[in-house]
């Protein structure tokens, strides 16, 4: 956990309003799949860092990949960064995905929209450990789709779009049902609503979900990013430091 001026190795649009940002820096050596970094936006008027998941890690090149969607003012400013620019990064933060092979020997990655990125490095690691990786990616429209071919290198990929403009029309659960995918061990990240539906449909699934909340400190001190634990009276969990990845059943999605 440190702050570092990392540098932009490459930065390009990979889908509508979606950018892939590759950064180089010493911090990479500490990174693990599912963790996130807290990125300082290049604007004095924006004080809060932006939490972005680590999408890919290359220890050889000491680079990491972030994938983000331009949403508000901060990500708009990020998108202006040129190759070589310095980006102040605080990280790596949070606890990522456990990397043990799932007991079924098969992993189902379920990503929705801008929740897809953290699943990529996870999939690479599981695949490298001999786990069978299947991926379901849900997007709004064809224009929003990214990393389909990257995930295809790890195993079978199913894409859904809400408007049917690419892949299966509908939501991730439609693809899961249609292809009767194995939902014993799932790893998911995406809109709350998506994760709630998946949890509701497959109550016996084991696995992990990665959450998002607005953050202040990013390390557990300010209590901005709490979510409820499922156990009554167990109080809150902090997404930034207890998560962002939680075992299914631990917190209320």
């Amino acid at each position: 956990m440190q702050t570092e001026n990392m540098h932009v190795v490459s930065h390009k649009a990979i889908a509508k309003d979606t950018y892939e940002l590759v950064l180089i820096g010493a911090m990479v050596s500490q990174m693990a799949p599912g963790q996130f970094v807290h990125v300082k936006v290049p604007s004095e008027a924006m004080l809060l860092r932006r939490p972005l998941s680590i999408a890919a890690i290359s220890q050889d090149e000491t680079t990491c990949t972030l994938i983000y969607r331009v949403d508000g003012a901060g990500t708009k400013a990020l998108a202006t960064l040129n190759e070589g620019a310095a980006v102040n990064v605080f990280g790596p933060l949070g606890s990522g995905f456990p990397l043990e092979a799932p007991s079924s020997g098969e992993a189902l990655l379920i990503g929705g929209g801008i929740g897809v990125p953290p699943l990529y490095e996870l999939g690479r690691r599981l695949r490298a450990d001999g786990v069978k990786v299947t991926t379901v990616l849900g997007f709004a429209t064809a224009e929003a789709v990214f990393y389909e071919s990257e995930f295809a290198e790890l195993g079978q990929v199913y894409v859904t779009t809400e408007d049917g403009s690419h892949g299966t029309k509908g939501f991730v659960t439609h693809a899961i049902e249609m292809h009767a995918l194995n939902v014993e061990d799932i790893y998911m990240c995406g809109p709350r609503r998506m994760m709630q539906v998946v949890e509701g449909l497959y109550p016996k699934a084991r696995g992990y979900a990665s959450l998002e909340e607005r953050m202040g400190c990013g390390i557990g001190a300010c209590l901005a990013c709490v979510c409820d634990r499922q156990e009554k009276g167990a109080g809150y969990a902090k997404v930034c430091s207890d998560g962002p990845v939680f075992p299914l059943g631990e917190v209320v999605l």
Binding site: Q2, R214, G216, I219, A221, V226
Partner: protein, 305 residues
Amino acid sequence: MSRLHVELPGLSMKNPIMPASGCFGYGREYARLYDLSCLGAVAVKGTTEAQKDGNPTPRVAETSSGMLNAIGLQNPGVEAVAAEELPWLAAYDTPILVNISGSTMEEYETVARTLSNRSETSAIELNISCPNVKKGGMAFGQDPALAEELTARVKAVSRQPVYVKLSPNVADPAALALAVERGGADGLSLINTLVGMRLDWKTGAPILANGAGGMSGPAVKPVAIRITHNVRQVTNLPIIGMGGISSPEDVIEFIRAGADTVAVGTANFSDPFVCPTLIEQLPAYLDELGASHIHDLQGKGAALL
């Protein structure tokens, strides 16, 4: 004695830099980043009698050069703080300013009695200015008579010096300062957050689940400087200045305005190392100004002339 050393009631500070209440938890998280013993003091998260859940999320929003928060005083309650948090933090060589809150005068008394009896507590910071709780909080800080009474009652049960933390959401902050001075305050913390709100322009819904929240950060610094300066004109009480500090220039601006020491809140989120960095940077600024001690720069105010 070092040129940064600051000696205040209950707080013997190596330097004038402490993290502000609520922005630093009880120190555990930042202790993973640097040695807390370097800090002038630590102001811990506001504590209430019972454990408190706080507000629903989102609890923070960004504003131009500032932020809003509506944490709602989530805390584990006085017993857990006394049993688990203070002893842990006391292992570091830095005074502990224990921030307390309540929704009734009785609750404030109970919390103050319990925590000021702990050997780990160096001083009490009486928060009468939290905009994020429904009952108590800021209401005590907007009425001079209530503020005076509450201060007197907390002083009566407290074994440690009491700093009263004032609200900027009043017409006349100096009148509040005089009221709590009459109540027996040993010092003042200036300022808590300004009440603010942001709406999502697309939907019209407030960004904070709580609706409004407290604004902090550089955006509020001019308000904090003006209140510090105003209050320094009417009282000799020690002042812990805060509101938007992120650079050595800011620290000095508060000292110039009349603060004795400062606290740093929001800036910890932009730069988690901001406190040790400020401590490291200050001596060169004193050199530039030809000051042998930071208090050579202090604005004395009319009351001290």
